[in-house]
Every structure is written in structure tokens, then in C-alpha cells.
């Protein structure tokens, strides 16, 4: 079977994903482009004796070197040489969408234009002379309706036909007017003569255009001084004539070309009037009720993710509990088989720990897919923008940060809604400071142990507030230091509202869930098993356990294990925080999952972990520690990384262990510093 590679290009909101889903169905593979955090989706389809691989390029308005997304899309087209590029054009908003097409024409790629959402265009009263427009642009045009799966066969026919015809030189090109063309001709000639390799790969006209636009990426590739001098001279000459950057003039000419082509071939039969979209916007972005509506929707998202998610989570936990017991049943009660412990505590515990988050992730992405596909997400960014902008984040960052109060894992994965890399990284770094649900179990243990009834509410509130304040401060600092520069020009399209199709939402959800299991899940599993080993080995000798009750046996085993030993070894380091080795051991165990802190503390105090146990544990804590230490424990747990799964997820989403380690140790250091100050100042004041 012959193979074809087809790249899908298009503006954001042009319905590119719906066309991608239409042609590939659910056979999709999601990954990253090498070295960057830009998502790469691939899907396959068999048609007419061909196996066609579709690659979904990032949604862009242009193909400049100013954003990673545009560079990725452009490099893919140049380096991978797809057999056909399909540009998905929103037919109801044709002029703006054809801008990208003009750049693809300039790149001289075999091009097919999918006039998507042709049903909406029809409703708007737009009538296209497809044949003539196709002739003017030098590319086949196929009307499609991606979300209703219309035009699939026609699109694939055009793709195959274009691929078979091969790369024809486009005779139709944008003309930039005499002055610019003159400079382009000069540069083109020089490039062809002096930079033969580049010219062969990229085409000399395209190189000349990009050089004149002062494209940094292309500029860096050219070494010939003569070429660069000609570019500088040309740019200055054009600046003199037009009083504006050549780049802007060239964009202007491209739009001129488009509007010329459209004038002849598109007729509008209906006067545009107030659309439903305007009406909805008037309500949801209203100055007074816009924010309450947004907060209510966010509350629903949170409820869906965690409250509804509780049920499947519970079932999964039961299932794993039952499986563990069944497998343990193969051994005689009280047996000390390492295999049993590995299977039950290590593997089933680890797999269970991975799978329990799956419902949350699926439900969160169900909500996100719905908000994105309807077009509300852009409005949410709009509503939150003035607040989030102050801390240097995007309005959309609010959503993953809110999810962080439930669990950091779906929250970090949810940062995929942010297009800008710096924004996304900053948000990922501070998400763990949103106090997650697992940490609540620690507060629930500590607060009643040390604080009077009337202080318990305010104390909990204070802890959450400290997390939020720290997140804001850290985000601001990160944006001013590590992720500074490239002030994100906040320009965003507000797409018209649309009803999402269940299929699109389902595919989106399925992809995220699968990605979580396959990528983050495997790392989380591996680390859980390592931690299990560290908590179970080495074992104390049999003689030393004789005569101890079960709780004391547990305690002795933990003390003897790697984790217990580390806990004891680091005591001098954590002493200034008011912690002893028992707390240290529990803290290390808690890196597996924050709620483990409570059960670990139960073990080192040999009280077990039942409800009664937690009551006795509170008494033990009250006897052994001051309220200040109690507060410091909560503070440390709040600030330090919630769990190794978070680190694994950060690694997966940033595509680098570096960021994961930075986050893990950065938060650890911050936790140490803050707790140190609070404990030292606190003990000084209280004498």
C-alpha cells in the first residue's frame, strides 16, 4: 500500500480538530514535537489504495518565527516535506483565514484548501465561486463541515489527486508591488547564487521574502555577507519609501491579494445582523454578572471533577482492595513472603494509585473539552484576564489553578489549554501550592489536635490562603526572572459559540486519559514501587521483633527500613523546623502521596491508622509537640511538592526532568525556608 503524509494547517478556531477527527476517527496518537512542549497529533486513514498519515499542526494565524507554534508548523512543512498540506479555512470568516493560505502558497507546497464550516457560511449568506477562487489561489478547494462529518470523501479525493499530481510550481503568487518586488528579486538572485543549499531546500523566493521580513530564524541560517547586506539595504530603502516596516507592508499586500481574490468570487446575499453569539456574549461577559457566571461554571467543573469523580474512584479503590485481599489469600495468614508484599503493597498498591486518578482526569477533560469547543474558554480568559494579568499569567491559567485545589495531577495536565510556553511552565510550577485534597487529611489530623474548636475553621482558611499568596508571589517572581521577556501580547480571538459534538468531546477525553495512563502512569508506578521497597527494606531480624504487639512490629520495621533510617539521619537538618525524626520519616513516606503522612505517623507512634487510632495519635501529638510545631508541619506539607506523581506529571508535561526536579526541589527549599522562619520567629516570641 502506498503511503502519504498530509499536514493539517489552519487558524485556531477554524475547526481543524473536527476535520482531523473526521478523517482519522479515533485512531490518533498524541505526543510532543521533539524538544518543545507543543502537542503533536497524528492519525491514520486508508483511502483509495493509500495509507494516509495526517499530522495536525498547531493552530496558527501565520508562519513567522515569533512563536514556537508557528515555527513548529513551518519547520514540519519544510523538514518533513508532507506530500500534501491541507489548510483548514473557516469559510464563514474567509479573508482572515486565507492569510495563512497565502504563506503556504509561498512555501510552494502541494496545497488543498478545506472550506470548513461551509454550513455556517451558507447561513451567513456567503456564496463562493469555488472554481474561480481555486484557480486564483492555485489550490483545490473542498467545502467541508467537520463536526457533521460532511465532505470527507471529497477532501480525501482532492488530497490523493494533489499528491499524485505532485509539486507543481505555483504560478499564482502574491505580488508585493514594484518596490518590494524589486528588492525581492535582488535578494532572490543573491540567495540562489551564494546560498545554494538553502535555496534548494527552502526555495529562493521564500527565503527572500522571509529575509526581507527580518525573520530571525531564516536570518540566522544565512551566512553570506553579501546576502545579508542586500537585505539590510533593501529593508532600509523600503522603510524610507513606506515609512513602515517592510514586513507590515508585505502583510498588507497579502491581505490585498486575498481581498482581491474574494471580491471576484464571493457574494454575500444576506446583510449581517446581530448574531446569537453577540447575544450570549452580552450576558456571559457582562460587567456585573459575567464574573458570577464564570465562578458558578468553575464551581460546576470542580464539582464534576471531584464530587462525581468520587464514585468511580471509590469503586476503583474497592476493586484494588479486593484484588489485594484475594491475592494475599493465596498465602497463609501472617506469612512474611516478599512476593506477597511486592504484589499486594508494591504493584497492586502502585497500579491502584495510578488508576484512581483516571476518573478525575477524564471528567476534567470532559469539562474542558466542552468549555473549549463551545467557545466559552476564550470568554473565561477574558473575564479573568485583568486579575490574572497582574501576576503575569494568562486569564486561562485560572482554570488549572482552581483544579489544583482538588489534585495537582489533572491540574498540571489541564495547563494544556495554555498556548504560551512560559505561561504554561509558570502555571505548572505554582500549581502544587494550591492545597490539594490529599493534604486536607493532614490538616484534619493536626488542627483538632492543637487548636480549640473556634480556631479550627480560621486555621484551615489561613493555610489555604498562605498557599494562594505564595503561588501568586512565586508566579510573579518566575515571570520576572526565569520566564521573563516575551511579554505575551494579549490578543485573542473570541470565536462564535458553537455546540460541540459528543464525538469530538469523547475523543478529546479518551486521548487525555490514555496519555495519562501510558506516560505519567508508568513513571508514577515505577516510583511507587521504588518507594515501597525503601519503606519495606531492609527488614529487622526476627529475634528483635519477638514479644512485640502488631503495632510495635510495624513501628520497628519502619524504623529499620531505608526511609526510617533517612528520617533519623536528617533529624539535625529538620530540627530547626521543630521536627524530630518521627516527623521526618513520615514526611519522606509522604512523598509517595501526601495522605500517607498520617498513616506513617500512626506507624511511628505505634497506634495504627483506624479512626480510633487517629484519636490516640492526636493525643500523642499533643503530648509530644507544641501547637507551633503542628502549624509548621501543616506549613511544610502545604508548600513542599505534594507527591512524586506530581513530579512525574510535570516531567511528562514539560518534556524535561529538569523542570520536574526544579519544581520538586524548589518547592522543597521554599517549604524549608518558610517553615524555618515561622518556627524560629514563633519560638522566639513564645520564649
Amino acid at each position: 500500500m502506498k503511503k502519504l503524509t498530509v499536514a493539517l494547517a489552519g487558524n485556531p478556531n477554524s475547526g481543524k480538530t473536527s476535520v482531523f477527527n473526521m478523517v482519522t476517527g479515533a485512531r490518533q496518537h498524541v505526543g510532543n514535537y521533539p524538544g518543545v512542549t507543543v502537542e503533536k497529533k497524528e492519525g491514520k486513514c486508508k483511502y483509495d489504495g493509500y495509507e494516509i498519515t495526517f499530522v495536525d499542526l498547531p493552530g496558527t494565524y501565520s508562519l513567522t518565527a515569533y512563536s514556537i507554534e508557528e515555527l513548529v508548523a513551518r519547520n514540519f512543512i519544510i523538514e518533513e516535506r508532507p506530500d500534501v498540506v491541507v489548510d483548514i479555512v473557516d469559510a464563514s470568516n474567509i479573508e482572515r483565514n486565507l492569510y495563512l493560505a497565502t504563506q503556504l502558497i509561498e512555501m510552494n507546497v502541494p496545497l488543498v484548501l478545506a472550506f470548513n464550516m461551509s454550513d455556517v457560511a451558507k447561513q451567513k449568506g456567503l456564496v463562493f465561486d469555488i472554481e474561480q477562487l481555486s484557480g486564483l489561489l492555485g489550490a483545490a478547494i473542498v467545502p467541508t463541515v467537520g463536526n457533521k462529518a460532511k465532505g470527507k470523501a471529497e477532501l480525501l479525493d482532492a488530497v490523493v489527486e494533489t499528491a499524485e499530481r505532485g509539486n507543481q510550481r505555483h504560478t499564482h503568487k502574491v505580488s508585493y508591488g514594484d518596490e518590494i518586488e524589486e528588492e525581492l528579486a535582488k535578494i532572490e538572485m543573491l540567495v540562489a547564487a551564494k546560498e545554494q543549499q538553502l535555496a534548494e531546500k527552502y526555495g529562493s523566493r521564500w527565503l527572500a521574502i522571509k529575509l526581507l521580513e527580518q525573520d530571525t530564524d531564516v536570518n540566522a541560517k544565512v551566512h553570506s555577507k553579501e546576502v545579508l547586506d542586500a537585505v539590510t539595504a533593501g529593508t532600509e530603502h523600503l522603510r524610507d519609501i513606506f515609512g513602515d516596516e517592510p514586513e507590515i507592508m508585505m502583510a498588507d499586500r497579502r491581505y490585498g491579494f486575498i481581498s482581491g481574490a474574494c471580491q471576484e468570487t464571493i457574494k454575500s446575499t444576506v446583510e449581517s445582523r446581530h448574531s446569537t453569539s453577540d447575544l450570549i456574549d452580552a450576558i456571559v461577559t457582562n460587567r456585573i454578572i459575567g464574573l458570577p457566571i464564570f465562578l458558578m461554571l468553575m464551581y460546576l467543573v470542580f464539582l464534576l471533577t471531584f464530587k462525581i469523580g468520587e464514585y468511580p474512584m471509590g469503586w476503583l479503590e474497592q476493586l484494588f482492595g479486593w484484588t489485594g485481599k484475594t491475592i494475599a489469600g493465596f498465602w497463609s495468614p501472617g506469612s512474611e513472603s516478599w512476593l506477597k508484599s511486592l504484589l499486594v503493597d508494591g504493584i497492586i498498591g502502585g497500579v491502584g494509585g495510578v488508576l484512581v486518578f483516571l476518573p478525575n482526569i477524564l471528567l476534567l477533560f470532559l469539562a474542558i473539552a466542552f468549555l473549549e469547543d463551545t467557545g466559552y474558554m476564550a470568554r473565561a480568559a477574558f473575564i479573568m484576564d485583568s486579575i490574572m494579568h497582574k501576576i503575569g499569567l494568562h486569564g486561562k491559567s485560572f482554570i488549572p489553578m482552581l483544579i489544583g485545589f482538588g489534585c495537582s495531577l489533572p491540574a498540571i495536565m489541564g495547563t494544556r489549554i495554555l498556548e504560551n510556553r512560559r505561561n504554561r511552565l509558570t502555571t505548572i510550577m505554582v500549581i502544587p501550592l494550591m492545597s490539594c485534597g490529599a493534604r486536607l487529611t493532614i490538616y484534619a489530623l493536626i488542627i483538632p489536635a492543637f487548636f480549640a474548636e473556634k480556631w479550627r475553621g480560621p486555621m484551615l482558611w489561613l493555610i489555604y490562603l498562605i498557599g494562594i499568596v505564595l503561588a501568586v508571589v512565586c508566579a510573579k517572581i518566575l515571570r520576572l526572572t526565569l520566564f521573563k521577556g516575551e511579554t505575551i501580547p494579549f490578543v485573542m480571538e473570541l470565536p462564535p459559540y458553537r455546540m460541540p459534538t459528543p464525538k469530538a468531546v469523547a475523543i478529546h477525553m479518551w486521548q487525555r486519559g490514555w496519555m495519562y495512563l501510558r506516560k505519567a502512569g508508568t513513571i508514577i508506578l515505577a516510583i511507587s514501587i521504588i518507594l515501597w521497597v525503601a519503606m519495606s527494606y531492609p527488614k529487622p531480624s526476627r529475634q528483635s521483633l519477638e514479644g512485640l504487639n502488631p503495632q510495635q512490629v510495624h513501628k520497628a520495621k519502619l524504623e529499620h527500613s531505608v526511609v526510617g533510617r533517612i528520617g533519623q539521619a536528617i533529624e539535625p537538618v529538620i530540627r530547626p523546623l521543630g521536627f524530630d525524626w518521627k516527623i521526618g520519616t513520615a514526611l519522606i513516606g509522604a512523598t509517595a502521596a501526601k495522605e500517607v503522612f498520617v498513616s506513617q505517623l500512626g506507624i511511628v507512634y505505634a497506634v495504627g491508622s483506624s479512626d480510633q487510632g487517629s484519636q490516640t495519635l492526636r493525643e500523642k501529638l499533643r503530648v509530644n509537640y507544641t501547637p507551633l510545631t503542628g502549624f509548621c508541619i501543616m506549613l511544610f506539607c502545604l508548600i513542599s511538592t505534594p507527591c512524586v506523581a506530581t513530579a512525574a506529571m510535570t516531567k511528562q508535561e514539560t518534556n524535561s526532568w529538569g523542570w520536574a526536579l526544579f519544581q520538586f526541589f524548589g518547592l522543597g527549599c521554599l517549604a524549608y525556608a518558610v517553615t524555618f522562619i515561622v518556627y524560629q520567629v514563633g519560638s522566639f516570641i513564645s520564649g
Binding site: 515569533y66 507590515i248 484576564d385 485573542m492
Partner: protein, 77 residues
């Protein structure tokens, strides 16, 4: 219209339609705005002049949202 003078987009009231003359910004922003259709001589309708929130404009049949900082840099007539 000779009597009208150049002003930033941020000073334009909601409902007014104006013509873009230039953008006082660096190359990156300029090019991004250009690719979205914000070019000299383009007609812009201000849908909402957000105080203090972002700005909503309508250009070439689609709605766009701009930060206030950007609206200050876009000069219109």
C-alpha cells in the same frame, strides 16, 4: 476627516468605528497583529472599551480581545 486627530484605540468609545493608522510596538507584536488582520487602513469597530478589563474589537468579521496595553499602542483615526 481633517479635524479628527490621531488617538490610541483605548480612547475610542464602544460602538465607534475607526481606521487603524499604525501600531507603536515592536516587531513581534506588530507582526502578530498584522497576521490577525490588524493592518494600516483596516476598519476597527470597538465592541467594548473595557475599564479596566480587556478590550473587545471587531475586525474583518471576527471578534478579538486585546489587552489594554495593546489598545494603547494602536493608533487610529
Amino acid at each position: 476627516m481633517e479635524n479628527e486627530h490621531l488617538r490610541p484605540l483605548s480612547k475610542v468609545k464602544a460602538g465607534e468605528t475607526v481606521k487603524l493608522t499604525r501600531v507603536n510596538a515592536g516587531q513581534g507584536l506588530n507582526s502578530r497583529l498584522a497576521s490577525m488582520g490588524l493592518l494600516p487602513n483596516v476598519e476597527i469597530t470597538v465592541v467594548r472599551n473595557g475599564h479596566p478589563g480587556p478590550f473587545v474589537i471587531s475586525v474583518k468579521g471576527s471578534k478579538m480581545m486585546l489587552g489594554r496595553g495593546i489598545a494603547n499602542k494602536i493608533m487610529v483615526l
